[in-house]
Symmetry: C2
Subunit: 298 residues, 2 copies
């Protein structure tokens, strides 16, 4: 059991981790640090935090574990501010959706605390953001990827593994670059495509009211385009090399489908659709096996 958990950036993910740890008795106290007071006060009123401060020295006082739950672009500043305030045994982790940029920031800013930094990423989210959407069960049955560095201490890694495992998540380890490649494919590219499609159709919509004739398939396909634009721009820019690589593969796929449509080559279209359905059904079974029954509609 951890004495004091300090959460930096008390939004959906930071707030959910605080709720999950408190609810399961994994920490005695939660302290919040953020730039703005209003969301911290909201978190206090919701019972997510026991105390907060916009001053990192106060907020991090006595913290055994500090979780940086801010957008990737804000990590460097957060690490820089916390470095002089960390105790000799304080473990630091993060929940950023990209790991390469966060690890670079940690190497540049954490100094002697680097071995006690464990880069992490819970594969969980909602399109709603903010502490009001936080949920103690958000990580139940989900995967958390840790990307430890050569310098990372065994004790720090064990503590962060135990915290996530205690919150119901399955912890896996991965190399930093591999994480960013996989997430570019399964998360960052789908967000880019959903935002891109809605942006493209919004221009048509002025004359044609296309959204008025969209149904459930469109609603599901574009749900992620309701996510926080600033956060996703930050993630896409931070991971742009891997994102551009997989986007290139996808544009090649679209070139092939467009050529098949132009040539009237229905067989080629059918083969691609069949391969996709097979893979999608396999994914659905995979996810079904991992998730709690109440979140099962696949």
């Amino acid at each position: 059991v951890i004495d004091t958990l300090a959460v930096v950036g008390v939004g959906l993910i930071g707030g959910s981790l605080a709720r999950a740890m408190r609810g399961r008795g994994l920490c005695r106290e939660v302290s919040g640090w953020g730039r703005r007071e209003a969301p911290l006060r909201e978190a206090l009123e919701l019972g997510v935090l026991d105390r907060f401060s916009t001053d990192p020295a106060q907020a991090l006082e006595g913290a055994s574990l500090v979780v940086a739950a801010v957008p990737p672009g804000a990590m460097a500043g957060v690490f820089r501010a916390m470095r002089p305030l960390l105790g000799a045994d304080t473990v630091v982790t993060d929940v950023g959706s990209i790991k390469g940029g966060v690890v670079d920031a940690a190497r540049a800013e954490l100094g002697e605390a680097l071995p006690r930094f464990v880069p992490g990423h819970p594969i969980a989210g909602k399109e709603r953001h903010g502490v009001g959407a936080s949920d103690a069960e958000l990580f139940q049955g989900r995967r958390v990827i840790l990307t430890p560095l050569p310098e990372t201490s065994e004790a720090a890694l064990r503590l962060v593994r135990d915290v996530w495992g205690g919150c119901g998540a399955e912890v896996v380890e991965m190399e930093v670059g591999h994480h960013d490649q996989v997430l570019a494919a399964t998360s960052h590219l789908p967000h880019l495509l959903a935002y891109g499609l809605v942006d493209c159709l919004a221009r048509l919509d002025e004359k044609q009211e296309v959204f008025g004739f969209a149904a459930g398939g469109f609603r599901d396909f574009t749900r992620i385009a309701s996510s926080d634009p600033a956060l996703w721009q930050d993630i896409c820019m931070a991971n742009r090399e891997h994102l551009l690589e997989i986007l290139g593969l996808f544009r090649g796929e679209l070139d092939g489908l467009a050529a098949a449509l132009e040539a009237g080559d229905g067989d080629r279209v059918l083969k691609a659709f069949r391969r996709a359905k097979q893979a999608r059904d396999r994914f659905a079974r995979l996810m079904e096996g991992r998730l709690a029954p109440e979140s099962r509609p696949i």
Copy 2:
């Protein structure tokens, strides 16, 4: 009230319409016609049909309304077979996801019955198909687009409007080509993109297990890639001109986003994401206002 409703192709849509009409007392009897006996027998056992035959002469006997609920590519053959069997007052409608190709088939095959043909398209579906997934409430609060021809009789149009209205749908009229353009944007392109993305990632997946690290956003985004590949290939091929046009616009959008990522132009990415979120949130409010409470998660 209609005496006998004949459903050609008793799958998700045909079966749901039969259930909706029977359940609301809009017809006295439902007859089913299909190529294969097994799904017709299943529909009979489920109580969706009162009788069926694989022989159109038997299946259509005495029908006041015939609903063609087969994939677009099968419409011409169905119209050809039914033409000599239609009564002088029998009204024909269809539920095809494209209207241009279906109208061409009707003009070529229905002859003197053409004025009693009302092209239609309910904007409703599920990724599950087959009569086992049919649902009397599938059209509740949904839109149905009718694309009447200059030849269409007022009486036939009124009957089909009343049937859909009676099933809880909102009926709107649209010009054939406009329908196909709008649906290319809101339905056919999203399906093509979802199938294309999953097909593209499935190739990566062999070495990287990418699907194991995908979450709820990916699940929603790719849900439509679990739809029937043969049906969607048929729809995409039948509407390939409009689909290629909107695909061209979308590829232009991706070119712009890729250029912005390459140039490190985060502002341009953020502007596109913000416009998209605004439009998606507008769409969510639109749909929320139209749907029954139990289908509301947007």
